[in-house]
Symmetry: C2
Subunit: 216 residues, 2 copies
DNA sequence: AATTGATTTAAACAAATGTTTAAAACAATT
DNA sequence: AATTGTTTTAAACATTTGTTTAAATCAATT
């Protein structure tokens, strides 16, 4: 099925570890479970990775690499309208975080690491976030009225990212709130369209607030 | 300090358990740690709660109760404008989820339970969510142009809740992204104002999309 | 003061878990 | 065929962890 076919033992273990760590967290995962799923001997973890902790780090690194090459941002030709860039950004972002039938453990493991950072992975996780955040800020800068402060810009960025992340972290809640039918209708494209529209409307009227204030 | 003063042993243990469960999760928490922090004997957990699992459930129940009475929604007099209700809802919601210096373990434990539900608590957690969600839907119904479908309404609600939850789940990331100064400026009121404005702008123009579509 | 029931304590138990070991099996090279 | 280095295996080890036990302590009542 998942991580049992032709691969080196090292890789089978890393994959099996990723799956189980993603589901049950570091403490909830036993070395025995990993080795069993990988079809390897109990001693293999220490033989190949030294200890459980270093195996965990390896799994996170792999998850990160896989996700980065799996869901790249398009490189926009100069002159691409900012609206298009924002739509692309949001679509890509949702693809990266949304849990769905086709989604592997990689995303779940990374999200776990974001919410509860392990000291071993804190730089990795966050060094990958900052550049993405900067890209979003640049896109928003093009959309927002002149004179918008960087603080307002950041809050707008948080609002957008928050909407996307919701469909990851609140997944159990959403499943419970909606019928199966309604839940499955929430595919990536639908969500991306909604969030893009919702956000564009706000971002375009970003300075409206100050204008209103000024009129009083 | 935290859970060591004059209280019954049972209560001291429940509180200490809540704190540690919130920080390290169920598997990462040992009964010995709990009893030590509570200043109780190792056997006290089983004496008062039967086993570790039932103590966990008790901690979650307490966290839920505490949060509900700590951050109630105001009961709006008839005729309160929907804008005001939305602002109140968002403020209350952020108070409930935001991590801050004054926030106790209760919120962290509940959020953990939302993201990774335990079979023992799944009904509790989710039965508390649905009514809140319905309230938000009703508020939005007043704000949104006539003819807005319930699906669109739900997506808008998700967008609002998502923005609020972001400041909980992404807290480690935000801390890393911002300077200490900028981070501390993100108090509840500031966030609530931003999210309310951001969302109101979108919600009011909710039907704009269909109108644009119709014009094509 | 004696009795009764509840609580606390120290010690022990059994199971689970991360890790190590030493021998066996395997694969490639000479 | 012998050798060498790598990989796999079963068993054991040392801790940790949840739980239990039986005695001791405490508190209230008779």
């Amino acid at each position: 099925m998942s991580a049992h076919d032709s691969d080196t033992t090292r890789e089978r273990i890393a994959d099996a570890a990723g799956e189980i760590f993603a589901d049950r967290g570091f403490d909830g995962t036993t070395v025995r479970d990993i080795c069993q799923r990988a079809g390897a001997n109990i001693a293999a973890v220490n033989y190949y990775f030294g200890d459980k902790k270093r195996l965990y780090v390896e799994a996170v690194v792999r998850a990160h690499r896989w996700r980065m090459e799996q869901f790249p941002l398009p490189d926009w030709p100069v002159g691409t309208p900012a609206e298009k860039k924002l739509a692309d950004f949001i679509t890509t972002f949702i693809r990266r975080v949304r849990i769905g039938p086709e989604i592997t453990w990689h995303t779940r493991l990374m999200m776990r690491e974001m919410a509860h950072p392990t000291d071993a992975c804190v730089e990795l996780a966050q060094s990958s976030i900052r550049p993405q955040f900067e890209i979003l800020l640049q896109i928003l800068r093009e959309l927002v009225p002149e004179g918008t402060t960087v603080d307002e810009l950041r809050l707008a960025a948080f609002s957008i990212v928050g909407q996307c992340l919701f469909y990851h972290f609140a997944d159990p809640v959403i499943r419970n709130l909606l019928t199966t039918e309604d839940y499955t209708s929430l595919d990536v494209q639908r969500l991306a369209e909604h969030i893009t529209e919702f956000s564009l409307k706000s971002v375009r009227h970003m300075a409206q607030h100050e204008r209103e204030e000024a009129l009083r």
